[in-house]
């Protein structure tokens, strides 16, 4: 990983997700507000493209922290910082393990893995935040937020192929060694 480039990417994604990215949100009476998780798109991209699991885990932790710092609402009056880092690490590790079973350049693969990532990460986050703020959260709130998380996961899955292509264009700024590339290089020698 090229960590300076990655830090800039995280900053830009945080800015986009808290400002202009909100143009992609929709409000439904039945589900609530639905918007994409742009950080999840970056995390899934890294899980598919970066060679080392440790690099992916550290990057996911940073992205999760960014999401937690940029969001205060959800369960109770204020949410705590930390659960999204853990949830991202858990979800990215799962996607990293799964990637061998898929062709990473297929649109369907990217969409499904983003869906799985978001279901895992946001399901864990909503559960953790509801448990930590259980004094302010009822079962119906928990159920409604989980439903919202499922809709967010579907929406992010739909946008993932587009995000993947955009990130591919600037990949060299934050990914030093791609998955599979170094090994292939050694075999050639």
């Amino acid at each position: 990983m090229r960590w300076v480039g990655f830090a800039i990417l995280v900053y830009v994604v945080m800015l986009l997700q808290t400002t202009v990215g909100k143009l992609l949100t929709f409000a439904f009476e039945s589900v609530g507000v639905i918007g994409p998780d742009l950080s999840a798109i970056v995390a899934v991209f890294l899980a598919l493209r970066v060679r080392e699991l440790n690099d992916v885990v550290i990057a996911a932790w940073v992205l999760g922290l960014g999401v937690d710092l940029g969001s205060a609402g959800g369960a109770g009056e204020m949410t705590v910082v930390g659960p999204m880092s853990l949830a991202y690490v858990l979800a990215v590790a799962a996607v990293f393990r799964m990637r061998e079973a898929f062709f990473r350049d297929r649109i369907m693969t990217q969409a499904i893995l983003a869906l799985v990532f978001c279901l895992l990460a946001h399901g864990t986050w909503v559960t953790a935040q509801s448990l930590l703020g259980r004094a302010d959260t009822s079962w119906s709130d928990y159920g409604a937020t989980l439903r919202q998380a499922a809709a967010l996961a579907c929406y992010t899955g739909v946008l993932m192929p587009l995000g993947y292509r955009l990130l591919l264009k600037c990949e060299r700024w934050f990914v030093a060694v791609q998955a599979g590339r170094a090994r292939r290089g050694r075999m050639m020698r």
Partner: protein, 327 residues
């Protein structure tokens, strides 16, 4: 040095996971401090981003209407046409109607003798996740803001001289749930965890008469709603997590109708009546047959919110609004 030389990414990852666990357990106070420390770094570019977002949303809203908004507009137009016809036929009644409107307007005029401080702020970021409805603003404790303060929009902002106590026309947009040195966080009225004591003010409209149940000396009777018997209904309004507010358990006999106003109850941290929104829909409560659920659409355009005003009462004013009916 040996420790550093043997340090691996695996250890770093493990350390970060432990740090995340500790941060999670340190609670909301720590989270608040951390967010307030980070917010100033995001604010400069966040302000530009929110300007762009608000401008695009406003323009998008101006160009196209949803089917529901179009239906509401058609209904409104029909209502206005019937009001115009009514005025032509019944000039005397229309003069009474005008008197009612003027009286209603007078009830929202500036309240004299209430000491307020109004702190302007700009929205610089929204929530990164859609579960909550909060906004980060660029005013903090250094500007004198306090957690729990009401946040309003006002059309009198530019005319406000320093130290002018109260704004005349305003809409409640939320309240402060967190305040750091340089930034604060506003919980919008549509947030699922937003609760406010409010009042429903039923509009007396001669073109749309309605019956209510009035109890006098223990006996109930059905009467037409008039200026005299129209008491505000004390209710509890909560955000619906999307784009409106919900008022539950409103007795059906009070005959609340779409178009009625939801205003603050005039207690707590905002001891004046300020408009929150308008009743958009009244539906029967399936669990309580004699009650209805009221859906309110906020007056403020929350999706393109930019300039807001934090209202700090310097001291609690005397009771200034009419008596509501306890519930």
């Amino acid at each position: 040095m040996k420790v550093l030389a043997g340090w691996s990414k695996q250890r770093t990852a493990a350390l970060l996971i432990v740090a995340a666990l500790i941060m999670s357990l340190m609670g909301r106070g720590f989270a608040s401090r951390l967010r307030n420390a980070v917010q100033p770094f995001l604010s400069p570019f966040g302000g530009a981003g929110m300007y762009l977002t608000a401008a695009l949303r406003r323009n998008a809203g101006a160009q196209g209407l949803s089917s529901q908004e179009a239906r509401q507009l058609r209904e409104e137009v029909q209502r206005l046409i019937s009001i115009a016809n009514y005025w032509q036929r019944e000039s005397e009644s229309s003069r009474r109607h005008l008197d009612n409107v003027l009286k209603l307007r007078a009830s929202y005029d500036p309240v004299i003798g209430v000491d307020y401080e109004i702190i302007p702020a700009t929205v610089v970021a929204e929530d990164s996740l859609p579960y909550g409805q909060t906004r980060a603003v660029n005013a903090g404790k250094k500007d004198g803001v306090r957690t729990g303060s009401a946040v309003v929009l006002t059309d009198r902002s530019k005319a406000l001289p320093p130290e002018l106590p109260v704004v005349a026309t305003a809409e409640l947009v939320g309240r402060l749930v967190d305040a750091g040195a340089f930034a604060a966080r506003v919980q919008l009225v549509t947030d699922r965890d937003f609760k406010v004591s409010a009042r429903i003010r039923r509009l007396v409209d001669p073109n749309r008469p309605r019956e209510i149940t009035v109890t006098t000396d223990g006996s109930a009777a059905r009467e037409l709603l008039t200026e005299q018997n129209s008491v505000p209904l004390d209710v509890q309004a909560v955000g619906d997590g999307a784009d409106g507010m919900i008022v539950s358990h409103v007795p059906a006999i009070d005959n609340v109708l779409p178009g009625d106003l939801l205003v603050t109850a005039g207690d707590g941290t905002l001891p004046v009546e300020i408009r929150i929104g308008r009743v958009a829909e009244v539906s029967p409560d399936p669990q309580h047959p004699h009650h209805v659920t009221v859906r309110v659409r906020p007056d403020a355009e929350l999706s393109s919110l930019r300039e807001v005003y934090i209202v700090l009462p310097r001291k609690l004013p005397p009771q200034i609004t009419g008596g509501g009916r306890g519930r």
